[in-house]
Symmetry: C2
Subunit: 630 residues, 2 copies
Amino acid sequence: MVVDAEEGTLLKFAPFQSRVDEGFWHRLSSLKLNKLRLDESPMPITGFFAPCSHKQVPSRLTLLAESLPSEDQKQSSSLPATLNQGNRNRCPVPGILYNTNTLEGFNAIDRVSLLETEAKKIWDDIHNGKVEESSSVLLRFMVISFAELKKWSFCYWFAFPALMLDPAARVVSLRSASQCLSLEQAESLSSACNEWRNTSSTTDLGFSLIGEASISVSPEWKTRDCTPKAVGWEVNKGNAKPNFISLAKAMDPTSLAISSADLNLKLMKWRAVPDLNLSILSATRCLILGAGTLGCEVARLLMAWGFRKITMLDSGKVAISNPLRQSLYTLDDCGEFKAIAAVRSLNRIFPAVEAEGIVMAIPMPGHPVPEQEEQSVLEDCKRLHDLVECHDVIFLLTDTRESRWLPTLLCSSANKIAITAALGFESFVVMRHGAGPLSMIKDSGALSSLSAEMHNLSLTNRMGKQRLGCYFCNDVVAPVDSTANRTLDQQCTVALPGLASITSGYAVKLLAGILQDRLGIFADAEFANSANNPSSENCLGILPHQIRGSLSQMSMITLVGHASSSCTGCSSTVILEYQKRGLDFVLQAINTPMYLEDRTGLTELKKSADSFNLDWEVGTDDAEDDCVEI
Amino acid sequence: MVVDAEEGTLLKFAPFQSRVDEGFWHRLSSLKLNKLRLDESPMPITGFFAPCSHKQVPSRLTLLAESLPSEDQKQSSSLPATLNQGNRNRCPVPGILYNTNTLEGFNAIDRVSLLETEAKKIWDDIHNGKVEESSSVLLRFMVISFAELKKWSFCYWFAFPALMLDPAARVVSLRSASQCLSLEQAESLSSACNEWRNTSSTTDLGFSLIGEASISVSPEWKTRDCTPKAVGWEVNKGNAKPNFISLAKAMDPTSLAISSADLNLKLMKWRAVPDLNLSILSATRCLILGAGTLGCEVARLLMAWGFRKITMLDSGKVAISNPLRQSLYTLDDCGEFKAIAAVRSLNRIFPAVEAEGIVMAIPMPGHPVPEQEEQSVLEDCKRLHDLVECHDVIFLLTDTRESRWLPTLLCSSANKIAITAALGFESFVVMRHGAGPLSMIKDSGALSSLSAEMHNLSLTNRMGKQRLGCYFCNDVVAPVDSTANRTLDQQCTVALPGLASITSGYAVKLLAGILQDRLGIFADAEFANSANNPSSENCLGILPHQIRGSLSQMSMITLVGHASSSCTGCSSTVILEYQKRGLDFVLQAINTPMYLEDRTGLTELKKSADSFNLDWEVGTDDAEDDCVEI
């Protein structure tokens, strides 16, 4: 301890000056966000000081990243062993951090009583002899703080509690250690200190003083219950007030954007959704088919949910009417490929996104391929197959029914999560496709020995429950060219504005729900307002199969449609055929949609169409069929 | 008619060459979009030709804007009188336009039979003597077309039906008119023609030929039923094929953007919502309070709906975490005032928007004003008052409850449409405020003589029905500072992503519904899925008072809350007080929210709080109370 003798005979302690390394704030932010959350308990921390080496330079007490426990580390009041030893400029001191949840909480701290509490600990340690084991307990310190994580700004205040002796201690003598000790004594002390510090030459007797002070011990001090008064809240630029620091300006914009995005997401875990698994969202690779009104909004919302890997596929260019409804484009983008412009826009919103744009058209049944284009269409099929394979989730957001057929088939074959969103003029549907028909067969080599049982098996999933349907399960015809003969007002842009915003909101939420579900793609269909939902299992609420809404009726329902054995998109018949014949099968289906109907039994079904009922299943478990598709 | 004598003695008609002025396509686009819509009926049009003035130059038949009826004009087959006379280079000819709804329809036209039909008319006119009244009926022409309005491209094909004589007509003699006629005859003919044309010097006999042809009349021609064969589909660059023209490149980007935006909106009127009044939307002045997640999306959707006058008010700056959720900003905007950045973004999306940004904070109850800031706060109040006055609709989209109080009061006082949208973590509310309590008093001068009846009157609207409530009608306390003591995760950014997209979609649709309603702000509350909605009255569907939804439950309900006589935002007590004391009243309310409670009777009410029931009213007409506010 450094003693200032300039005031004549009064003994005064030279105040510490606090210094906080940026690393401390970064680690505190991370701890608060990811681990402490709303916990305001006092936290043991470690400060580091160096002995004063010059009269004019105040002694520093420094907080570093390692002053705080690491995130995986259990909180512990004992100092890590490695911090305890060796560096004379990094002598560890125990401290306590009071980090509040709000600025109001910070301001409301009763600093006087806090200081008293801390002084009492010093007093106790003097009484119980702990100070003789480790003089560092005399240097106890406190920090109160509030971390405004959104702005990377911090408000904090140090206290170094010092007991106020009354009457004050007085200096009796103060001399250089070398004057005071004999050479033998000095060498012996120096070597003892160095040994104690476990290094060589840290104690330089030329800089050391040895003093003697007189302390009048008042009678009541004999009892530990009567603690002397204490002072010690640090003076900041001459005033008793807290420090403020903002790190935002020192950070580069991209890492600031990343940390801000993380913050908004992680705050959800503090109270609202503690079980939310964010890392599964950021790791999921999303393929968005169609970069129109729905595709733009879905991509934006994926980023807001914390998805970071986004591929956008579209063959079209930005038209002058697009920016008003397609939220990733401005007029400057007109004439450019949508997939490219969309990705550029995503990067402007969040530079850490891993986004890719693919300019290609999706081959469609009912749009026969001229012979000279056959090779390029087959290449597109192959490319789409590969894209589906290397993504985890596929959003089907194109503007025709038939363009969703091949992606549906590929997702069903590869057992990938597929989310369909589609708009009518004032109505929408959002649905997740069920698992693929072969998803319960773990050994794909077994495919060759598939028996007739296949047909029945393929309607049930791994858990023996009925498989959920895909976008085509309710159709009684194969998809055909739906673009022919559509008048201008029957084209997709003529939907009520806002419908796509609503639809996209539900579509991305549906995906988030699937990814949070233990069963993932195999999760059961749940219904809104149903008593027997196991919704407590999913931290994001219920996980329906389909959501249908009407903007003009301001209504919305959840419903379920099970897989059809005659489905052109996901029945075992078409999936097996695809896996056997590959692109040949796809080409045949594209050129001759009737082939799909023959193959799946729809042709037969149509012959007995009288017996067929279309029905909506709303919020019940016993309804057995399907619903009219938009 | 020009005769080509070069083929020896065979009489051949020199073909017309068609020419279409851009003005024709602009007027056709406008007619199709606004008036004809899906109507494909043949339309009489007028072509204009000039006599050939040189052998090498083909005769032109030109279509101009005035070839088509104007939009207000009733379709009529008779030529406008003004077109009929006077200009030898603009001789009018009757024609018919077959404009199809689709390209497929265009390609499917039976051109052979169409030509026969037209030839039959000529044949009939020859037989019934009309040709002698007006030789122009011999020049009948046809155009088939398809207008791809989205791309400003047009596909068209002219036909000039010519009867095929068999055996062919032969030239007997062909001489210059001046050679053929005596000077006296020539002068007499010229003067007769000039008189007929009603101008001077249009017939130049030096350019005129007089010929004689021999036509063998076959016996069956005597009957009108047997029409000679006809030819006449125009040859386009040597081939029998249609013409294509695109005007997009010739148009400036802004007018192209405007016309594209109009197109998307007007197409809704073709079939889906014929009664939609678009001009009321484009004329409505919208004030958006709060340019955050909701404000950005609402502004975008307003533009998509065809609103063109948008003012955005916000006091904040774009933070680095904003662009991920606030769809008008990119990272480049960080640090800039939101209101300014948002308006710039709106202009990039649609340059014809009339958008203004206002940087100002909204004074709030419970946030007392220090004396030195009083003047500037009062100026803000005055400014907000003026803004409300000069707008038709106010969106309340700020992130605290108390910041919505003053706008609610001002809207209620001025009887302006107010739309509130607010988010919880996973839930939302969208509501339209009811009409103001004084809205049935037409003469504002009557205010001074208001009696005790006022209180009762103010709960009913002009139609004697109960007034709908505002955002504060269900509160039993005055709004206070809600920002204090909120931990980071309790701040507004911690809402499920997508919730704002959904909420904004419903909020803007709600406004569109109010504006389409005959009763506007006085329209009754309707409910989803209710049998007794007079929903046929509103072309956009039902018009609820409030919509509340849960994203985790994937559910949504419509409900109603009536005006409360103790409301701090819209009761006659506060409105009258405001109209009497103006800004003094506002300042008192801001500094002392308790004053509002005393004044409105909430203080009394709280004393008898036991008798108070909070209840949800869902889809019924008889429920009599209100709902818990988000």
